[in-house]
């Protein structure tokens, strides 16, 4: 499956191996992994909420958009929800193409859209209490470059 929304942890190394196997003929593979920051030790846990149903279709749409804009042989998106600890993998994207320019650009595009257009919300739990992570204006602005 090229789009996965899951509560379980995943092994980014193993995912890259499987993705590479399935992307025979690609000259370039780019991956990005998002990891929970520990915020200098103050973050105890993160809870990610999502909108079941809409999340899957939003990710599928973002993936299809990337496939139509760049010459890609495959695209993988994995995004977790539920309770995560600092250092855990939140999400991963992988793109495969004949040449690196398309693979890099598509990976950046996927990340920009995942940030602001996929229905996930992060809540941080730390030594000073809990708070919802606020969307950043820069993230919204970075969509404009596409």
């Amino acid at each position: 499956m090229s789009v996965r929304v899951q509560i379980e942890p995943f092994d980014a190394g193993e995912e890259l191996r499987l993705f590479s196997e399935g992307a025979k003929g690609a000259g370039a593979i780019v991956t990005f992994s998002g990891v929970v920051r520990d915020e200098d030790g103050s973050l105890e846990a993160m809870e990610i909420e999502h909108y079941p149903g809409m999340t899957e279709s939003a990710l599928e749409n973002i993936r299809n958009e990337a496939m139509s804009r760049w010459s890609l042989s495959s695209v993988l998106i994995i995004h977790r929800y539920g309770a995560l600890k600092a250092g855990e993998q939140i999400m991963m994207v992988a793109t495969a193409s004949r040449h690196r320019a398309d693979a890099f650009a598509a990976a950046e595009f996927l990340m920009d859209y995942l940030k602001s257009r996929a229905p996930f919300w992060k809540k941080e739990f730390g030594s000073t209490g809990e708070k919802w992570v606020e969307a950043r204006d820069e993230d919204e602005a970075s969509l404009k470059r596409w």
Binding site: K115, W121, E134
Partner: protein
């Protein structure tokens, strides 16, 4: 009847992830005006809609969008994926 869903701090302020609403509203804006009247918690949650995003039948849209024939309207803060 329409299902109204809330996520993140909207869900917390309203105190429920979902409610079924009998409504004559034809747009998201009209629905929000009706919801504000339901309780103080609703009024508080919708006090500043510039901080709220909306999806109708799981498609991101605007507050001016029609909800005629819609099954599900969801309200949530700006998304923070990735």
């Amino acid at each position: 009847m329409i299902d109204v869903l809330y996520f993140a701090w909207l869900r917390e302020r309203i105190g429920a992830p979902k409610e079924q609403i009998e409504t004559n509203a034809t747009t998201v804006e009209e629905l929000v005006a009706e919801l504000r009247e339901k309780s103080e918690a609703h009024a508080l949650a919708f006090s500043d809609v510039s901080a709220v995003r909306v999806a109708v039948d799981q498609e991101l849209t605007e507050f001016t969008a029609s909800i005629s024939g819609a099954r599900e309207v969801a309200f949530f803060p700006p998304m923070t994926g990735g």
